[in-house]
Amino acid sequence: MTGRPRQAALYLALAGAMLLAALAGLAVGPVRLTPVEVWNALGGRGEITAVAIMRDIRAPRVVLAALVGAALAMSGAALQGTMRNPLAEPYLLGVSGGAAVGAVLAVAGGAPFGLVPAGAFVGAVAAVMLVLAIARAGGRRPDPRVLLMAGVVVGAFANAVIMIALASAPADSVRNALWWMMGSVAGATWTQIGWFAAYGLVSASALLLFAPEIDVLALGDDAAAGLGVNVDRAGRRAYVIASLLAAATVAAAGLVGFVGLVVPHLVRTRAGNRHRAVIAAAGLAGATLVILADLVARTLRAPSELPLGAVTALGGVPFFLFQLRRFR
């Protein structure tokens, strides 16, 4: 099977997996509800507590987890293509460091906890822009390798700022900031989901729209220029859109590591080399992974939770290694 039928089968399988994961996420929790109760409560029928559990606790978590996972994986897929580097991912390009600095400075500066996501977003955007500025300082055209190096350097700088802020902030602020950095969708609300979905939809559509440009960029700068693509502008555009998408995930759920790096590789072997397909498939797979990771995070150590970012890595890395063995 090649071409379209094969891709359709892939999308169908990924969407089915995501749906199953979402159903599991909705059905499982500390309060035992039968499938019928779950269904009724989702529709707003039945006992008021069950309705609130489904509509205000479980459903927002599942939806936010799906959106965050999809956004991170799509961002990673686009960046790996644009940079022609399998290690490229939003966190490596300064997004996580900048977001963490923003969050930590917000709490250290005494901002109420509600403003931490805003601080994280501002920090992430600032880091993205800083990385771009550094990469462009060397010459007119931001070389992907320089961009990666700039990302690593900005990340190291961010680490220093975080350590200084944490060392001098009071214990409760530190706790808030650290908790933030470990990633969680425990606080998901529909308002937040609404904002994130609108933002994510625009960014994700843009990535899919510009995906053919990424295909050309992946051939190398000279080949791309030969094919009439403005390499500088196309590379910058993909980098900025993908990074801003990842920045929004940090504001919504803190740092959920590993998804942006590995999910694109998981799907690339099956989705082929076209970036539109890779990005779309990565989105579905990323959503599935983070929904399941959240389910594990909130049930494994009940009544407490595990950090979401740790669960994605714990579950994803063995799976990734297994795939490496199979497809080498």
Binding site: P30, V31, T49, D56, A171, P303
Partner: protein, 311 residues
């Protein structure tokens, strides 16, 4: 207002920090009660503390650094507040404590700042994060007494020890008895009342519950309630909102800001107590620490749980 908001935040913060560190500590708690009590040759007092360290405190120390809000309160209650030369950033009660030099954080402390005020006794909370600081202070020749004050019984123990340290056991007995009498008065008054199940929310992000390992859980019991997380031996730990819903408490205890956030968060609507408006706002500065106001704290909780039942 500056005062109030600052106090609430810091009070909750340090209590939380202490609780968290305590629950991260795998050591079995309530170790050998401190105090062997033998008078040493120089007229000092030999004490074994909650780290198991044996130290000799000179008779009636004059320059004390107290890095635990509970012991700072206690020194003032014992009439020895004027002997304090250092406190933590969070020791704001009684108001006179605020005139004592602020040495910053307590878990762990800044050893150099502590040495800088030339203390002849340092009081630390017995958290594993303070082990290194205690060793350094001992090494510098400063008697360092670590106490783990989590339960009401720990408070009684601490009063007795501090009474001997400052050389006024009579006053220590008066303070301990006064607290015990108030607690007993509340306990007796609430004995016949129906037990009201309660969830104590100590923090928002993540949601942190007070467990059976905290004096707050004991206070809830005394005040005619029952902590829904009282079966967990840890002092405090994070919980999912849905687990709280499963335990279905009659009421919620929360600080003013924390209670407000709870009212406005959609997810908390799943909790019956929140829907029915039974969030009881506690004075976090009063109930936040196991100190000389434990009795007062129990009274305030009893009045919240069973309005009109205490004069």
């Amino acid at each position: 207002m500056y005062h109030r908001s600052l106090g609430l935040g810091f009070g909750a913060g340090v209590a939380l920090a202490a609780l968290l560190v305590a629950c991260a500590d795998p050591r079995p708690r309530t170790p050998a009660a401190a105090e062997t009590g033998a008078a040493s040759a120089g007229g000092g007092l030999t004490i074994r503390d909650d780290f198991g360290d044996t130290l000799t405190v000179r008779a009636s120390p004059r320059r004390i650094v107290s890095l635990n809000p509970a012991t700072t309160e206690l020194f003032f209650a014992l009439g020895a507040g004027d002997r304090l030369v250092g406190r933590t950033h969070f020791d704001l009660y009684p108001p006179a404590a605020q005139t004592v030099e602020d040495l910053g954080s307590a878990i762990p402390p800044n050893v150099e700042s502590v040495l800088g005020v030339r203390p002849d006794l340092v009081m630390l909370y017995a958290s594993s994060s303070n082990r290194d600081a205690a060793t350094r202070l001992h090494g510098a020749g400063v008697p360092t007494l670590t106490l783990r004050i989590d339960h009401i019984a720990d408070f009684r123990r601490a009063v007795a020890i501090l009474g001997r340290v400052i050389g006024d056991t009579a006053r220590a007995t008066v303070v301990a008895d006064s607290v015990s009498r108030t607690l007993e008065r509340v306990r007796v008054a609430m004995q016949g009342k129906p037990r009201i199940t309660a969830f104590w929310k100590a923090w928002d992000s993540p949601v942190i519950a007070i467990g059976g390992g905290s004096f707050l859980s004991e206070l809830v019991d005394i005040a005619g309630g029952k902590n829904v997380y009282g079966d967990d031996p840890r002092p405090a730990f994070d919980v999912t909102i849905e687990d709280v819903v499963r335990r279905n408490p009659d009421v919620v205890f929360a600080g003013p800001e924390s209670g407000e956030r709870m009212r406005s968060a959609p997810a908390w609507r799943a909790l019956r107590a929140v829907r029915e408006g039974r969030i009881l706002i506690v004075d976090t500065m009063l109930v936040g620490r196991p100190g000389v106001r434990l009795g007062e704290a129990a009274v305030s909780l009893a009045r919240l749980l069973h309005p009109g039942s205490l004069p």
